[in-house]
Symmetry: C2
Subunit: 186 residues, 2 copies
């Protein structure tokens, strides 16, 4: 079951390393972005992880929804990993506009392993196709949810959002989904 | 089968992105390291990927063998990936000394997904333990070998080395293994 291994890989090789450092990263970012970011209070200090059911991932969020604007990157974290010295881990900060035009800063990205699931479903030699892919995304989501709920290092530092693709004809589907989840945690 | 998915992920999410750019990276590196690196000719322009059977991975190669010295990193490659702007991909250059004390530059790293296999075998909830791990490493190696042999983008740009752990009491086991594979391709 590919999704099971990819969820563990995402946790063990990434979330477990970066989530404990996220708070400090955001604090450092705010101290260097004071003039332009007095309102982070309305945003979120958790990493928002997007899991679209159709594994349809874009590399720039603003291409999905014009109420989303790339703001800047958090400071780099460098970690020696498996022979690569100072491998760089970073997150991007986006400003998400609500229906009143007010901006909310948040650290958000897609769950990168979904790119692997998507590409594998296109490669005939990889062993699974489009019909299985949706199942695998759900398995990825549930496995990851389970791992994170039992993780002391990651507790309260993330927000996992499963995106149902039925409303994708709504041009502000993504910003509304993100804002809905931001409100839930305030 | 976790190893199958991790091999595909390693190819689709990393090797397929970085191997086509490796030659240019090395050329840029040589132009900024001319005074100290006239002898790259004895080294290799392929990415050397180490796959230790026991999944025993260190984060700094020189800790495994004092005939290996970290030299410098190749220039960063930045790619927008799944919402992370300018995600950084880099490789480390090591100088490997042979038995005459001569140095050979090479770009070498461990296969990062083995860290996931190792950690999963330690987490009881992940579903497999130490006995299965060796099998999974072999499956990872064979699957990756197969994928790379059929990949046009990656052809001739890598060297996959399976490290048998029986000789680990030899303090120069790793440098000798690397040099043996470097000679094979000259
Ligand atoms: N040596 C090395 N250098 C790299 O820069 C690199 N980037 C990826 N990989 C390995 O390739 C494969 C595919 O990567 P993907 O991005 O889909 O999954 C990644 C990704 O979803 C997430 N992740 C890891 N590093 C980052 C990062 N810097 N930014 C965002 N996500 C990351 O966590 C997963 C597991 O990472 P690794 O366990 O380090 O190994 C990966 C993986 O086996 C790398 N390997």
């Amino acid at each position: 079951n590919v999704a099971h291994g990819l969820a563990w890989s995402f946790y063990l090789g990434y979330l477990r390393l970066v989530l404990p450092r996220l708070e400090d990263s955001i604090a450092a970012f705010r101290s260097t972005h004071q003039a332009s970011s007095p309102f982070w209070g309305r945003g979120s200090r958790k990493l928002i992880i997007l899991v679209p059911l159709n594994a349809n991932i874009s590399h720039k969020l603003e291409e999905q929804d014009d109420n989303i604007h790339f703001y800047d990157n958090l400071p780099n974290t460098e970690i020696d990993r498996a022979g690569v010295r100072g491998r760089v881990y970073k997150h991007s900060v986006y400003r998400v506009l609500d229906e009143h035009g007010k901006g909310h800063e948040c650290v958000v990205e897609y769950a990168t392993p979904l790119l692997t699931l998507y590409s594998m479903s296109q490669e005939s030699s990889a062993g699974f196709g489009e019909p299985e892919r949706r199942q695998q995304v759900l398995l990825f989501f549930r496995t990851l949810q389970d791992i994170l709920e039992h993780s002391l290092e990651c507790r309260n530092r993330y927000k996992l959002i499963l995106l149902n693709d039925e409303h994708e004809n709504n041009p502000h589907f993504l910003s509304e989904a993100i804002l809905r989840h931001l409100e839930q945690q305030e």
